[in-house]
Symmetry: C2
Subunit: 261 residues, 2 copies
């Protein structure tokens, strides 16, 4: 059975499912169960399928990029929240790389400008003005609510649970690779340098996943914690899915031209 | 009149003092008022006076170092909390330097090992074992409560207010310089390389103060906010002072040898 979240409990069920009873799964089985959640990854969302099959009109791609930007700007805030709950210097030393990846580092030029800037460049490559993106004016309420649920979870949960919630990165390399493979022919009007974000994330996601799995294995020493890890991953998968629901609803094929980004 | 904090309000008065009424002070007067709070800095605490006059026995110096270590380990957690509340990437890019200063960066060797490690080396130079320091076993409850109040404030306050609370660094270069000047003759039994932390902080404190004052000037656009900034600074000064109260009480001159660190 799947428990429902308690009201106000940050969308994570506080009762645990039947899975939670018994001996802990072995490390391999636990990881396999985490990886099996791929079936719920937003790569399978109808909007993403259309996006990656090249079926979207430019304004729909722009709407997606402008809304997803809200997720991008919240990521380093989420990562700071993880570190603010983490008393282990060795873990913070690894986790801070995620903040530097997104906010930028060193001279903040080129690839050093970080993931938020790279996403902004993607947006501009799709025809959005920088101000349209950075003002967040296209961001739909449903997108805000979903992303904010993620940040608030990271603020309040043990840092290990917040780390586990980032494990949707398990499935990210494929979604980025799909975009890199398909977009140049599907959307030739997008300047290819706009896709740099996707390229950079493939390596970084693999590094992050390795760290995330390490934390999950160490933290989930009981079956109850393992089952909770799966629920946390489901929660994060719901966030990504709901984000696309809100975007799909906002940008139907026949959207009036004056409402198109 | 000075308002008292509301119960559970994180030790910061929520009612504001008579100072809070009127036109905002000019930037220079506001800064002068912040700087005038130096009179409440723990540099004037009886325990610090004795420490810097060379009047303490080795176990008292060790007790101070071991307890103050708790403050050191909490600093990057506090800084992550500031960033977790800060939506401005440009500000996070500056603030993250503080985390890197304390947790370390790059190869984490030598000076790159960061401020927590530098403090640990200071502790070892005073004769403590690394495990004595890192286990936090000498840390007194009063020290924990005071430092935790600081971290909890940073978690819950607007990030600009948390930044203002760090402005006790205005007064830090002098306290570090005093130690560098006096300790080698007062405490010749402490290996001089143990003092590297104090040396490093003089430059870094000046950089941090510049950033902190910039934030305070920008945030405190009303007299009410300026007065609150002074109260926040007082709160932080109280934390540092209370920390020394707890340490002084724990390590009297005639402490039984078996209780001496």
């Amino acid at each position: 059975m799947n428990a429902l979240p308690a009201p106000g409990a940050g969308s994570i069920p506080i009762a645990v499912s039947g899975d939670a009873v018994g001996d802990p799964w072995g490390a391999d089985e636990f990881e396999a169960r985490l990886r099996a959640r791929e079936s719920r990854y937003h790569i399978h969302h109808p909007f993403n399928l259309r996006l990656n099959r090249g079926e979207l009109q430019p304004f729909q791609v722009r709407g997606w990029v402008a809304n997803r930007f809200y997720y991008q700007v919240c990521i380093p805030i989420k990562d700071a929240a993880v570190m603010a709950n983490c008393p282990d210097r060795a873990e913070r030393r690894r986790w801070i790389e995620r903040m530097l990846d997104h906010d930028g580092r060193g001279d903040y030029a080129g690839a050093n400008a970080g993931g938020i800037e790279a996403w902004c460049r993607l947006g501009m490559a799709t025809g959005l003005a920088r101000a349209d993106i950075e003002s967040l004016r296209h961001v739909r309420p449903g997108v805000r609510f979903a992303v904010d649920a993620y940040v608030n979870f990271a603020r309040r949960a043990p840092w290990e649970e917040a780390a586990i919630s980032s494990l949707t990165e398990l499935f990210a390399p494929k979604i980025h690779a799909d975009r890199l493979a398909g977009w140049p022919s599907h959307y030739p009007w997008i300047a290819p340098e706009g896709l740099a974000y996707f390229r950079s994330r493939i390596t970084l996601a693999n590094r992050d996943v390795e760290h995330g799995l390490e934390i999950a294995r160490r933290w989930c020493v009981t079956r109850e914690r393992q089952a909770r890890a799966l629920q946390i991953l489901d929660f994060k998968l719901d966030i990504l899915w709901t984000l696309l629901d809100a975007i799909a609803l906002a940008y139907p094929d026949d959207l009036a031209p004056e409402l198109q980004p």
